[in-house]
Symmetry: C3
Subunit: 120 residues, 3 copies
């Protein structure tokens, strides 16, 4: 099979989720799974003093949107995330891209790209 | 090392979890991690009107079962998921398959397949 | 691009998290995302009787720490996890290592290692 599938983890501000979800649907993303994480990123080196205590690697609430794509180009998703989630301030988040070996649709037993795309 | 390891994310109906967990143990799956996600899938294109508002990409509660396997064949897991989770209705869910580079058992320092299999 | 990136899922005891987070920052880990999972592992075969019922594959609360690294060696993370999380008792947990294809910083559009490392 020469199909390739990719997973993106989009970790961003919780208040961007509704707009992001609709924007991803608009560009043809086949589905998504959303969960809450606590995250720390590149601010970690900058220790903050708060009431006499050093706070390094403070954890902030983020949403993680997992998107597996088969026919939508990765770059389309990345560009759409930039459009919706970029404020220019720290906290905008990160996108991590992973290889996917296969996909199965439990209802029908279809595999590969067909497992996440609609026929009609 | 010629060993290969694989991760499966099984995203399905929450009420199938107990039966699925026991079925996976029966076929020799070495362990699993379970969490809740909110998901949307291939229904997304079908906009629903509810009290005058369009609902696209509505999110539904799903469970995500993460299973890393070393000696159990991927197909055995897929077949067992079909057996337990297929109702034939939309909402049965998806399986995503990912490559795994290595595994470590924190207690002993074992790596590879040995890190998730029992010796006895 | 000859850069490689790696993701580690560290699944361990919740009460080790604070110490682990600080230890990972100390070795230069660029960020992390933390969530709660319920897990079962290699004890699963050992059925426990509790009030007359067989409990197999009992689920225990664990934390999952996801760490994507670009410049920090995998072995440094693994060694640090052993140092902090190994008690020698069952329940110390597992580390799963995954390939990462790319990384994007949403704020700036940087990709690759530059997306998770600080310039200053
Ligand atoms: N190396 C990493 N591994 C795993 N998760 C990470 C990593 N770096 C960042 N994250 C996740 O992404 C979230 C956003 O990261 P970070 O704080 O670096 O972003 P940011 O503040 O938007 O970025 P920047 O400061 O570069 O503008 C973090 O809270 C964490 O959940
Ligand atoms: N492309 C995707 N990327 C990430 N997660 C997805 C994707 N497609 C589906 N999911 C996850 O899987 C869950 C089930 O998907 P979906 O609703 O498509 O399944 P289904 O209704 O059982 O399938 P079908 O409608 O094909 O019978 C979703 O709620 C979501 O959590
Ligand atoms: N094969 C697996 N696939 C997915 N997650 C797993 C797997 N094995 C273990 N886990 C996760 O890791 C956690 C710890 O696993 P396990 O109970 O095997 O570890 P442990 O008791 O510390 O190990 P050991 O008994 O080998 O010392 C589990 O609760 C589960 O969340
Ligand atoms: Mg930051
Ligand atoms: Mg569906
Ligand atoms: Mg165990």
């Amino acid at each position: 099979m020469s199909e390739t599938y990719t997973k993106l983890d989009i970790i961003t501000r919780p208040d961007k989720f509704e707009e992001l979800k609709n924007a991803l649907v608009d560009i043809g993303v086949e589905g998504m799974s959303v969960s809450n994480v606590m995250g720390s990123g590149t601010q970690k080196g900058m220790t903050t003093k708060y009431r006499g205590t050093d706070y390094t690697a403070q954890l902030l609430p983020k949403i993680k949107v997992e998107v597996v794509i088969a026919t939508t180009p990765v770059q389309d998703v990345v560009d759409k995330v930039y459009e919706v989630c970029r404020t220019g301030n720290i906290g905008d988040g990160k996108i991590f891209v992973y290889p996917v070996e296969n996909i199965y649709r439990i209802r029908t037993g279809e595999s590969g790209a067909a497992a996440i795309t609609n026929k009609e």
